[in-house]
């Protein structure tokens, strides 16, 4: 089941991504499932990449507001 990206952490996303890649590598997915999983994996990769490089202004503000 797809998790809402808003609530997922980097580590969780990476874990799910790793599981998908392993499932593909061990060949336990049929082509229909593969398409679905690759789509999900692409979302996860995008999510992780953004976490790595896109500055979250909201977070910076929260930190700045610590008195």
């Amino acid at each position: 089941m797809h998790t809402d990206m808003e609530k997922i952490s980097y580590t969780e996303a990476k874990k799910e991504l790793t599981e998908i890649v392993l499932a593909i590598e061990t060949g336990e997915l049929d082509v229909d499932a593969l398409t679905e999983k690759v789509k999900r994996a692409s979302e996860l990769i995008l999510f992780c990449k953004e976490k790595l490089t896109r500055t979250d202004q909201e977070l910076q503000k929260i930190l700045d507001d610590i008195a």
């Binding site: 990476k14 998908i20 590598e25 593969l34 990769i45 990449k49 790595l52 500055t55 977070l59």
Partner: protein
């Protein structure tokens, strides 16, 4: 009152003389420094104290002074040898002359210092603190924490004005990979007597917000020599060791490994190196992600290629097998058709032959043919005569020949048949 009495100054002068007479030399003395300060003339004033090893209560105290010219020489020598500035809280071995001044009282004037004693004391103290931490089972706690894959929210404990802090932030925020880092300064005094409590207070503050951070950096700008006392303190170390987030130290000290460095998750030499450490960690995280992406692409591609080639193989097989099947069926139909043609031909030939044979036979036995061969047919009044019995002399008979009919009258009848063998 006939007994002699002194004025205070007279008495003080006597004390002064007594000290000068009885303690005329300079003496090597072990003590701890306290309240070290320099005035505008460059003279250094301090307190020497001695604490009871068990209770830590002060059991002796004396004022001390190091004159400016001596201090410049000694402090430089001390810093070079120990990597540590001459400051409060140090165990020192100093050569002193004992002074007594009528107005200012008792004091010790420092003329020499033995830095190796201090080094030994620092090392001994470090060993002691480390041993205690180990016995309490906390020494490696912070080192055992795992740095989270995405370590980008850094709580920084530093002096806000330190160059090292600026270097750290610049290095981190301008990393060449464009990684997003977040820093929050928790200001602390990083040297002097108040540094220990100040840093612990900063740590406690970070602790309150620990859910917002991935790691703590304790940094301090470099400088040749500095006061490292607070980084060897037990109270500081025990706080860092038990801190729930990984602590990275970068206190700008090349030579010494302080207690803080020991208990921290990671020790870097300088603030810049701490930033590098975080960047490298992110690089590792990013490259793991890139690796997964690459594997995902190549694997799913190869799965699809494999599927496609299987489909191609199946297609080929279907074509091949159906062609084969058609050929087989066609051959079978051909065979049936051939054998039918043959059988029918045979039948027809048989029939043709039969008809022909029959026809020939019939032709052979037809009256015309029989007549041709010399036989004749006899009739009486249009009826075929095959026996003598109905004949009587005088009957008119018609004899049919091949080429016509002759009429005759029976003159006699004799019943002798024509011989069969004839």
């Amino acid at each position: 009152m006939t007994e002699e009495s002194f004025t205070l100054s007279e008495l003080n002068r006597r004390v002064k003389n007594a000290i000068r007479d009885h303690l005329p030399d300079t003496y090597w003395m072990r003590a701890e420094t306290s309240d070290v300060r320099r005035n505008q003339n460059g003279h250094c004033y301090l307190e020497f104290i001695e604490k009871d090893a068990a209770t830590q209560h002060i059991v002796a105290r004396a004022r001390g002074v190091i004159w400016s010219n001596i201090f410049q020489m000694l402090s430089a020598y001390f810093e070079t040898e120990t990597g540590q500035s001459f400051t409060s809280g140090l165990s020192v071995l100093v050569r002193v002359s004992v002074e007594f001044h009528e107005l200012y009282g008792y004091s010790l004037t420092v003329v020499d210092i033995d830095p190796s004693f201090t080094l030994g004391e620092i090392a001994r103290n470090r060993q002691q603190v480390l041993k205690q931490l180990e016995e309490e089972g906390v020494l490696t706690l912070n080192r055992e924490l795992e740095l989270s894959e995405l370590t980008c929210r850094i709580a920084v404990i530093s002096s806000p004005t330190a160059a090292g802090y600026g270097d750290f932030c610049d290095q981190l925020l301008q990393n060449p990979y464009g990684f997003a880092f977040y820093t929050k300064l928790f200001p602390a005094i990083m040297q002097g007597e108040r540094s220990e409590s100040s840093m612990i207070a900063a740590l406690e503050k970070v602790f309150q917000y620990s859910h917002l951070f991935d790691a703590v950096a304790i940094i301090r700008g470099g400088g040749a020599a500095s006061d490292l006392n607070c980084f060897d303190s037990y109270a500081m170390a025990v706080n860092v060791a038990q801190f729930p987030l990984p602590v990275v130290s970068g206190i700008g000290h090349e030579r010494d490994v302080t207690v803080l460095d020991h208990v921290a998750h990671t020790r870097a030499k300088t603030p810049t190196a701490v930033a590098e450490f975080f960047i490298t960690h992110m690089e590792k995280t990013a490259s793991e992600l890139a690796d997964l992406e690459e594997r995902l692409l190549s694997q799913s591609r190869s799965v699809l290629q494999e599927e496609a080639s299987q489909v191609r193989l199946l297609t080929k097989e279907v074509v091949h097998l159906s062609t084969l099947l058609l050929q087989k069926e066609r051959a079978l139909v051909q065979k049936i058709s051939d054998s039918m043609t043959y059988v029918l031909g045979q039948r027809i030939q048989d029939q043709v032959h039969f008809v022909e044979t029959t026809r020939q036979y019939i032709r052979m036995v037809s009256p015309a043919n029989v007549l041709k061969r010399g036989y004749t047919l006899t009739t009486k009044q249009g009826k075929i005569v095959t026996s003598l019995q109905k004949l009587s002399p005088g009957d008119t008979l018609e004899t049919h020949f091949r080429d016509g009919v002759a009429t005759s009258v029976v003159s006699g009848v004799s019943s002798t048949p024509l011989s069969e063998t004839n």
